[in-house]
Amino acid sequence: MESWLPIFVVAPLGMAFFNLIITKFVRHVSPYLTLSVVIFLLGLSLFFLGHEPFFYAVGGWQPPLGITLVWDSLSQLLILIVSIITLAVTLFAIPYMQQYTAQNKFYSLYLLMIAGMNGVILTGDFFNLFVFMEIASIASYALVAFGVEAEELEASFKYLILGGVSSTIILLGIALLYAATGTLNMADISATIQQGVSKNVLFFTFALFLMGFGLKSALVPFHAWLPDAHPSAPAPISAMLSGLIIKALGIYSVARIFFIIFGIVPIIKTILMVLGALSMVIGVFLAVGQWDFKRLLAYHSISQMGYVMVGIGLATPLGILGGLFHLLNHAVFKSLLFLCSGAFEYTTGTRQLKQLGGLIRKMPWTGSSCSIAALSISGVPPFNGFWSKFIIIVALFQSQNYLLAIITVFVSFMTLISFVKVQKYSLFGVLPKKLQDIKEVPVLMVSGMVILALLCIGLGVLFPVYGVSILESARNLMLEPARYLQYAMP
């Protein structure tokens, strides 16, 4: 069973190229090929759920020389999130992408993105991390520009330049780390650092990684690309970028590298919390004034990533638990909100909130899903967003960060204001005259949104009772990084 681990990367990677060959001869099969791969990956991740941690040596070369893929409680959580969200997004994409040409290329890039993300999550080797990160990023640069309008090309170019800068900085960090420790295997690097490495080199790599992964996860001084790139992409890709890419490439890599490989040090905790608090406040203030629905959601992504960073940066058991729970919840409700914005755009042709109104009467399924997601993100009980924000705020009070706790409550309040505005202008109010004869979106699009809406309710109501064990095992790994050495090396 352990030998099935590389399939998470191999299946989407192979299908990405296979799909392009097949569609040269048989047209219109790529959505179904993609859907089959995504369902297979979800089955595989459920099959692996709860498996003991282990490593897989690629090519039969044992670590520390060879490349490893590592399955543990943190990667298990992320793989599960990726598998569930991609299923919902793929179901949504099948009718939505009919508006575009060159669909086979879309699905190939989409599969490459999934392969890259799964690779980043599973890898146990620093250079491999960089390679998979580039696969996912380059696929997403192309996907942001998929509409080839002037605005989309500009956003993609900006994203490409800043993403390229961050990748170069991360590569420089990896090179310095390799020079200092003489190995690329993550577990081996962790063991070498414990034996003692020059502090100056180590802190310089910390700075490089903070900047590189900060750019990937759009923390505030590095956030300039996100409000352009995320709204410009087609709606399913916006959902993937905001729901998964910034988490897998950004937050997950920070958690893996700073907590598990290096072992957390106080200065990094402080920096992460300050950056998180800045993102939270600035993101939400920029979001409140927006009238473009997708742009508003993109600014909220920055703000919500701040919550996750504050929770993780606190590095207390409750704080990390809250951060990881919010990561899971944000993936669910932000993908759902982006899918809803796509559904509104699909029927009405606009995403300006001022031109919408009263949509819940014409589109009951989309409208109620959107309403559930908006209530979740603004932290209304009993939806999932409430619990994770509540845990983070309690953790902040427990560790006597009163100022930060008050800021967090205030940002939550601002989020509520912003989403009350969204609901008032899009779902309720008066239906404009020219939108009188719109209809509900196709069944597959509805099913993708309803899956995520049910998850929002389910995670809120049932998760505190049943699902906590997955989060707790991931949290325990981040608190006791020494355990990583026990199973990631022979």
Binding site: V10, G14, K24, Y56, G59
Partner: protein, 151 residues
């Protein structure tokens, strides 16, 4: 007349065989000497680009059309992926499953030689396809200039 002057065409005719041969040599001996699939593929693509520059697009598209460039591109990737999968079937993903013989021979490295050939096909055809994609804009611009001249 399409393409460049008589001198360029003659030199290209003389050199093109040598360029392709050197590309193939670099690819096949990648595991023994500096080079490999990527370097060989770039040389292959450069050969095609030289043909395009010297003789015009029609001639080089006759040798390798955009359909075939993109097909070979995908086939190269699929071949590389299949080598990994064949290794997977015999134990580990990307396992070197072919028997290795005496060092410094052409067939001494197991799957590395096949991988290099797959990478050469992938890189060569995709770089040429990128070049073709860039020349599409060239056609737009020359159409624009022509229409402006008519006005």
């Amino acid at each position: 007349m399409e393409g460049m002057t008589f001198i360029v065409k003659t030199i290209t005719k003389l050199l093109i065989g040598a360029i392709f041969l050197f590309a193939i040599y670099i690819t096949f001996y990648g595991h023994l000497t500096p080079g490999g699939g990527f370097a060989g593929g770039i040389m292959l693509a450069c050969g095609f680009i030289l043909l395009t520059l010297a003789f015009g697009k029609k001639m080089s598209l006759g040798k390798l059309s955009d359909f075939w460039a993109s097909l070979i591109d995908n086939l190269g990737a699929i071949t590389f992926w299949s080598i990994g999968m064949l290794g997977y079937l015999s134990g580990y993903f990307f396992m070197n499953f072919i028997e290795k013989s005496n060092p410094f021979g052409l067939f001494s490295s197991g799957t590395i030689l096949i991988s290099n050939i797959a990478i050469c096909l992938k890189v060569g055809s995709s770089i040429f396809a990128v070049f073709l994609a860039l020349t599409i804009f060239g056609r737009f611009i020359s159409d624009l200039i022509a229409s402006e001249d008519e006005d």
